[in-house]
């Protein structure tokens, strides 16, 4: 009953916010709508497509052709249903996340039982009991339903709503062992926004673990299915665009080369506004490698036993470092964090990070208004806010990882921090 009430309230809030007078303002916020996902651009792309003008000829539309055709038919046949549709899709994302977290919790419990003998005697009380674990998935649901970031994202009707749904569906598919499902959805998400390609690594590990049997064969199968799906989607998109692959320059090319410098909550926009032309390519490559490739291998090697944590961290890192991030992405990975509720006691910067999130969320719109509308501030103010927002997110993620290894250590070696009876402290070596 309480669960249904949650969905109902969250759905009503979203639906109501879509229909208020301030909707246009919300839908146009730079923090919510980026050149990649904004509703306005989707409308423009669909409109051009409807008038037989290739939307990729211009610079107004950067979504994938599949989304273009999908929304073309939706807007042509049932335009009135779209607000409800977005609300339902977001609720579905919440539901899938809830189911995913349930499955993850079960896996977590299994692995906890398996490692029981490794746990030191004095840390036994740190082990999680069923009620604690059950709570976690409830929190996942609540956070996604009521986090202002995800609410606003849904209200603005950005395509990130669909992106989140696809990522959630692929995680759910992986957690339940549906290889095809997981691969199709992650391929869809990759086709739409490229960065979810990172998720194929934790998904491959998860599938191998859930489905048991030969691990290597499972990895290869997963990769193969993913590549096939992705290739098929790219081909389908080209088929939609009359066999032309030009759209790739306007979707993946647009994501990778960052030609649109409209401010958002990420690190790219001001960096590349102020970049010396000579070094632009170097830094574009450096930043994209940082977002796409740099952390995957080391984190996979370190956390291959914890694919769920790996997935959370990779989603978060790609959100922080992607070229056009929006708060919808932030809201999504924040909903995954309650699964790691038991790590919160080991985190050191909870307060700082919490304050930073609240302050930057309030300050961002304020300095944006000062800069763009009243002309009494300049770009540096907004840049400062986005910089501290990114810093807060980075602290959150690194703190989470530190908390995880600290807990592992404590489980193994007990809670006492003493070496040979002398006081000692935990250090990295």
């Amino acid at each position: 009953m309480a669960v249904i009430l949650k969905y109902l309230i969250a759905g009503l809030v979203r639906y109501w916010l879509i229909h208020i007078d301030y909707w246009q303002t919300i839908a146009n916020r730079v923090e919510i709508a980026t050149p990649l996902n904004s509703w306005k651009r989707l409308i423009e792309g669909v409109y051009l497509y409807g008038h037989n003008i290739n939307p990729y000829e211009g610079d107004s539309f950067h979504e994938s052709p599949i989304m273009l055709v999908l929304f073309y038919y939706l807007m042509k046949r049932i335009p009135f249903i779209l607000p409800a549709l977005f609300t339902v899709l977001d609720l579905l994302t919440a539901y899938l996340l809830y189911r995913t977290s349930k499955a993850f919790i079960n896996m977590f419990k299994d692995s906890q039982d398996k490692k029981l003998e490794e746990v030191s005697e004095e840390s036994k009380n740190m082990l999680l009991n069923d009620s604690q674990l059950k709570e976690a998935s409830e929190y996942v649901l609540s956070v996604y339903l009521f986090n202002p970031y995800s609410v606003l994202n849904c209200v603005a009707m950005t395509t990130t709503v669909i992106q989140n749904l696809l990522v959630a569906a692929s995680l759910w598919g992986a957690s339940t062992g549906h290889r095809i499902l997981a691969c199709v959805f992650v391929a869809f998400a990759t086709h739409q926004a490229l960065y979810p390609v990172l998720l194929i690594v934790p998904i491959a590990i998860l599938l191998a673990e859930v489905n048991k049997g030969c691990h290597k064969c499972s990895y290869i199968k997963t990769l193969l299915v993913f590549v096939l799906c992705w290739g098929f989607l790219i081909y389908i998109s080209a088929y939609i665009m009359d066999g032309s692959y030009e759209y790739v320059y306007d979707t993946y090319g647009f994501i990778l080369t960052v030609p649109d410098l409209k401010p958002n909550i990420g690190l790219f926009w001001y960096f590349f506004t102020e970049m010396f032309e000579h070094f632009r390519l170097l830094f574009v490559c450096a930043f994209q490698i940082n977002a796409l490739a740099l952390y995957v291998i080391p984190l996979t090697l370190r956390f291959k036993k914890e694919p769920v944590l790996l997935a959370t961290v990779l989603v978060a890192l790609s959100t922080i470092f992607r070229s056009y991030p929006c708060i919808g992405d932030v809201g999504f990975y924040m909903a995954l964090l309650p699964m790691w509720k038991h790590l919160f006691t080991f985190m050191q910067q909870k307060f700082i990070v919490g304050c930073a999130f609240i302050i930057t969320s309030a300050l961002g719109p304020t300095v944006w208004h000062l800069w763009i509308y009243s002309g009494s501030a300049n770009a540096n103010f907004f840049f400062g806010v986005t910089l501290s927002f990114a810093t807060a997110q980075i602290f959150l993620i690194t703190d989470l990882l530190f908390a995880y290894i600290k807990r592992e250590f404590t489980l193994k070696h007990g809670t006492s921090r003493q070496v040979d009876g002398k006081p000692a402290k935990l250090v990295l070596r």
Binding site: Y47, L267, E274, I394, L428
Partner: protein, 556 residues
């Protein structure tokens, strides 16, 4: 003997080639009551097309440009100020503020974009204007708005041969006028061009110099073509600037007219005296003849002076009747006039509104060409005519979306303006954030948006003073009644202020953003490569002890 005969043949043939060239100078003065005066000069050189290099009248520099780049028709104007159609009626030739250039290339030119860039660079050198800044990112190919005025074969697909660009920021001054004058056969020493004293003409409310090159038919059947090079100057004086309503050449140009250019076959001055009925004035010296013209339903009266080169200084002037000078004037607006402005506040979203007023009693079809630069992305989905998204007034529409740093946004609408109505065309745009090096100097001055083009076939010749398409000289206006009167107008330009970054910040921004990236890299690197161990903590060491330790180490 035979050598002499040969010499004579060559001489006569050369003479006949040169004789086929013709140069005329004309001046048209029209009072624009109550407060302005319009003077328009045109210098027409007609060249036998095959021999631009052997002409003694046409400017060789321009002729070479035309023949080398295979230009069929070319229009270049450099303008300062804004023509007020609502108050002043229509000019002989309309021009966009700043620099405007459009040209049709011959059909056998394959790579038009390259030729276009070469042409603009060459003209840039020829007229000392920044036409070299014309590139693909500010060039459009109008589909409906512009049609050639010269002789073209009707079967040709001419639209694809056309290129149009305007530079609204261009400032027009003496350095453009001097090379322009050098193209004239008499330069500025004799003839009407002697009046074009840059000290005086840049003191006007509106001035526009132009070069228009086109092909005209050499005979009735149009089997052969001649090249017509027309150089124009349009000036609008404000009576406030010359301090009285009474005008004279001395007041307007600082000197009298020192006679006609020796090389011209006709030098004529036309003064529009139609307004004499409401604002009575007397011309001195009295005109040589008066011409009545009935064009469409509108009657015009010209006072004509034929100027000869007899060494006399001519100072034509008008003296207004003092008792009428305080007359209130009712301005009768022309059949179509328009206005353009930018909507919105802040530097995030905005809109461009073009208001078209049809003041005539029948519906008029017009083509509106909106040419938005790439940094002003207009959204076609937000196009509204009279506030409606799908208005029936729009008969045809063409849209070519722009691309960052490559292509402008280009929208053309064929609209039927209902009789006696105002039609508003609104389109929204989003401000673009440029790279810091793409902002011009004084970035906060704002960015100019070029004029929109409005092409109409007017059903009436009211306030219409353009030459008919087949005519070269002003006498072709007389009694030139046609079913419709083609006209291309330019709206006023507009200005927007783009959001700017802090131009002094590049190093700081690069350092700060990289620091944040490093903040993630460091801990993640530690987590992935190191392991946690327990390290015994020694007894805490005080600051003085630390210093002592340091000193001890130094001693060793």
């Amino acid at each position: 003997m035979s050598i002499y005969r040969l010499f004579w043949i060559i001489f006569i043939s050369a003479y006949s080639v040169v004789r086929s060239d013709d140069f005329k100078e004309e001046m048209y003065i029209k009072p624009l009551p109550p407060s302005h005066l319009y003077t328009y000069f045109q210098f027409i050189t007609i060249v036998n097309h095959k021999s631009t290099e052997h002409s003694h009248l046409s400017p060789r520099s321009l002729g070479e440009v035309i023949s080398r780049f295979k230009v069929d028709e070319l229009h270049l104007t450099l303008t300062e100020g804004q023509w007020r159609h609502h108050q002043w009626g229509y000019p002989v030739l309309d021009a966009a503020p700043g620099a405007e250039l459009y040209a049709w290339f011959a059909t056998d030119v394959d790579d038009i974009d390259t030729q276009w860039r070469k042409l603009t660079s060459t003209l840039s050198g020829l007229f000392c204007a920044s036409l070299n800044f014309i590139d693909n990112f500010n060039t459009v190919i109008p589909q409906m708005a512009l049609w050639p005025t010269g002789a073209v074969k009707p079967i040709q697909n001419i639209t694809s041969q056309l290129r149009y660009a305007s530079l609204p920021r261009e400032i027009v001054c003496t350095e453009n006028l001097t090379p322009w004058k050098k193209l004239l056969p008499c330069e500025s020493s004799r003839g009407f061009s002697a009046l074009l004293n840059s000290r005086m003409i840049h003191n006007t409310k509106y001035h526009s110099i132009g070069v228009h090159v086109r092909k005209i038919c050499a005979n009735k059947d149009c089997t052969d073509t001649h090249l017509e090079i027309k150089q124009t100057v349009a000036l609008v004086y404000d009576y406030k600037i010359i301090n009285s309503m009474d005008w004279s050449f001395r007041k307007l140009f600082g000197q009298g007219l020192p006679g006609a250019c020796t090389l011209s076959s006709a030098s004529t001055i036309y003064v529009d005296v139609t307004t004499n009925s409401s604002h009575s004035f007397k011309l001195t010296p009295s005109p040589h003849r008066i011409l009545q013209s009935q064009r469409g339903a509108s009657e015009t009266e010209f006072a004509v002076y034929d100027i000869h080169n007899n060494g006399e200084m001519i100072n034509i002037g008008a003296k207004y009747d003092s008792k009428y000078s305080n007359n209130m004037t009712v301005i009768i607006p022309p059949p179509i006039y328009f206005n353009r402005y930018v909507l919105g506040y802040g530097k995030e979203f905005g809109g461009i509104v073009t208001e078209l007023v049809n003041n005539y009693m029948t519906a008029i079809d017009v083509v509106l060409l909106e040419n938005a630069p790439w940094w002003l992305p207009i959204q076609l989905s937000s196009l509204r005519v009279n506030g409606e998204a799908n208005n029936k007034l729009v008969i045809a529409q063409y849209f070519s979306p722009g691309r960052n740093r490559q292509k402008p946004y280009h929208l053309e609408l064929l609209i039927k303006l209902p009789p006696r109505s105002t039609t508003t065309v609104t389109i929204d745009f989003e401000f673009v954030f440029l790279k810091w090096q793409e902002y011009p100097p004084d970035a906060n001055h704002g960015f100019y948006i070029g004029s929109a083009l409005i092409t109409a076939n007017l059903p009436t010749a009211k306030q219409y003073s353009s030459l008919p398409i087949s005519g070269s000289t002003f006498d072709s206006i007389i009694n030139a009644s046609k079913p419709w009167y083609p006209a291309v107008f330019r709206t006023n330009g507009a200005m927007v202020s783009l959001p700017t970054p802090d131009f002094s910040m590049p190093y700081n921004v690069i350092c700060l953003a990289c620091t944040v990236v490093a903040l993630a890299f460091g801990p993640l690197h530690n987590i992935c490569t190191k392991e946690l161990i327990l390290k015994p903590v020694g007894t805490p060491v005080s600051l003085t002890q630390k210093l002592m330790n340091l000193l001890k180490r130094k001693k060793d």
